[in-house]
Symmetry: C2
Subunit: 217 residues, 2 copies
C-alpha cells in the first residue's frame, strides 16, 4: 500500500487521515509546526501507522498527498513544504477557495474563480505532480461515510492524468463511494469549486449537513 | 389563469412558451422587433392563445414574465421593454451569464459572478418586481419534460418573495417537476448560475444532454 501524507490538521484532515489508517495505510499528518496539538492527539489515538511531522516531512513521506488545508492557505503551505518534493506524486486536492471575511454568504477568493481554480493553480505550480480534484463537494463526515447520505450520492473528480484518477478512484471506493463520475481534465475543478456556493445554500435550506447530490445520466 | 409574457425567441423561449400554451395559458412571446421570424412561426403553430410582440408588449401583456434571453442580453432587453412595466409582476429568471467569447470551456460574465449574479442584478434593477430564479440548471428539453431525466431530478428555485415562489412552484409542478427545492432568497442565484460551469462538464463527461441532479436531503 502506498504511503500517504495528509496536509492539514483540521476536521477534514483528521477525518481523512483516520479513515486511511483504518484502511491500513501508513499516514503522516503534516502541519506548520512539528508539534501541532491536533496532529499529536490524532497520532496518539490512531496507532503506529499514524505519525506526524511538518508539511515538508508529510510530503516527503507520502506517495499520495491529500490536500486538506483551507483554500486560502494552500499555495503557501505547498511552498513551505518544498515544491520539488511533490514531483511524481498524486495530490488529492479537496480544497475550496472560501472567503469568509465578509460574513454570510461566503464568496470565493477572486484569484481562484471563473477563468481558473485552486485545482488548476496547484497543477500549474506543480507541473510534475498529478493533481486530482475530489471530495470538496460534501461535508467531511460524508467524505469517508457516503452511506450517510439519504440517497445514493455521486462523487465527482477531475484531473489531467488518467492513472492518477484511477488510483484516487480506488481510494474513494475504499471510502465507500459507489457512484464516481470523472469530469475530465483539471479545468473541471472550476465548477466543482464553485459548487461550495450552492452547497452552503443547500445546507441552509435543508438543515442537513450531509446533503449531497446524485447525477442522473 | 394568469397571462404570461415570454422574453426570447430561442430554443428556451419557444420550449417554455409552447408548454405554457399547452397548459392553457395565454402567452405573448416578445422579441426585439415585432416581426421576429422565430416568434411568428411559433405563434402560427400554437393557436390563438399564442401571440407575439415586442419585448415591451410582452411585458405589458404578462402578469408573469419568463426571462428566456441570454444572460449577456438580459439587462438591455429589460431596459428596452421599459422597467416600469415589470412593477408588481413575477419574473421567472432562467438566464445564465455564459461568456462564450473565449471558446471552450465557457466562463461566466465577470460582472455577474461571486459577489452578485444576474438574478440579483435583475432584482436590484426592478425592486418592485418579484424575481424567482429557476430552470437554469437543466437543458431546455428537461425544463418542461423532467420525466426525461434517467432518475428523479431536483429543480432549485430562489427569490425574495414567498408568494411569488409559490406561484412559480405551481407552474413547475404543471411542467412535471415533483422535487422542487427552495434555496432561499435571490442571493442563492449565485450558486445556481455558477452551476452552468459544472453542467457543461457533466454534459461533456456523460454525453447526455438531459443530465440532471437529485439533491439528497
Amino acid at each position: 500500500m502506498k504511503k500517504i501524507g495528509v496536509l492539514g490538521t483540521g476536521e477534514v484532515g483528521r477525518t481523512i487521515a483516520t479513515k486511511l489508517v483504518e484502511l491500513g495505510y501508513e499516514v503522516k499528518m503534516g502541519s506548520r509546526t512539528a508539534n501541532n496539538e491536533n496532529a499529536g492527539q490524532w497520532a496518539k489515538q490512531n496507532g503506529e501507522k499514524a505519525t506526524t511531522g511538518t508539511f515538508s516531512e508529510a510530503v516527503q513521506f507520502g506517495e499520495i498527498i491529500f490536500n486538506c488545508t483551507k483554500g486560502e492557505a494552500t499555495m503557501s503551505v505547498f511552498q513551505q513544504a518544498g515544491l520539488d518534493f511533490f514531483d511524481g506524486k498524486i495530490i488529492v486536492d479537496q480544497s475550496n477557495s472560501l472567503d469568509l471575511s465578509n460574513g454570510f454568504p461566503p464568496t470565493l477568493l477572486p484569484q481562484y474563480i471563473n477563468t481558473t481554480s485552486l485545482g488548476e493553480e496547484i497543477q500549474k505550480m506543480l507541473p510534475k505532480a498529478y493533481v486530482v480534484k475530489t471530495l470538496n463537494t460534501v461535508n467531511c463526515e460524508l467524505m469517508t461515510n457516503p452511506e450517510k447520505s439519504s440517497g445514493e450520492a455521486t462523487m465527482l473528480l477531475c484531473g489531467n492524468n488518467a492513472e492518477a484518477k484511477q488510483e484516487v478512484t480506488e481510494i474513494l471506493q475504499q471510502f465507500g463511494w459507489k457512484d464516481i463520475l470523472d469530469l475530465g481534465e483539471i479545468v473541471a475543478s472550476r465548477g466543482m469549486e464553485m459548487f461550495i456556493t450552492t452547497w452552503v445554500r443547500l445546507f441552509t435550506a435543508t438543515n442537513n449537513i450531509n446533503v449531497s447530490f446524485k447525477i442522473n445520466r
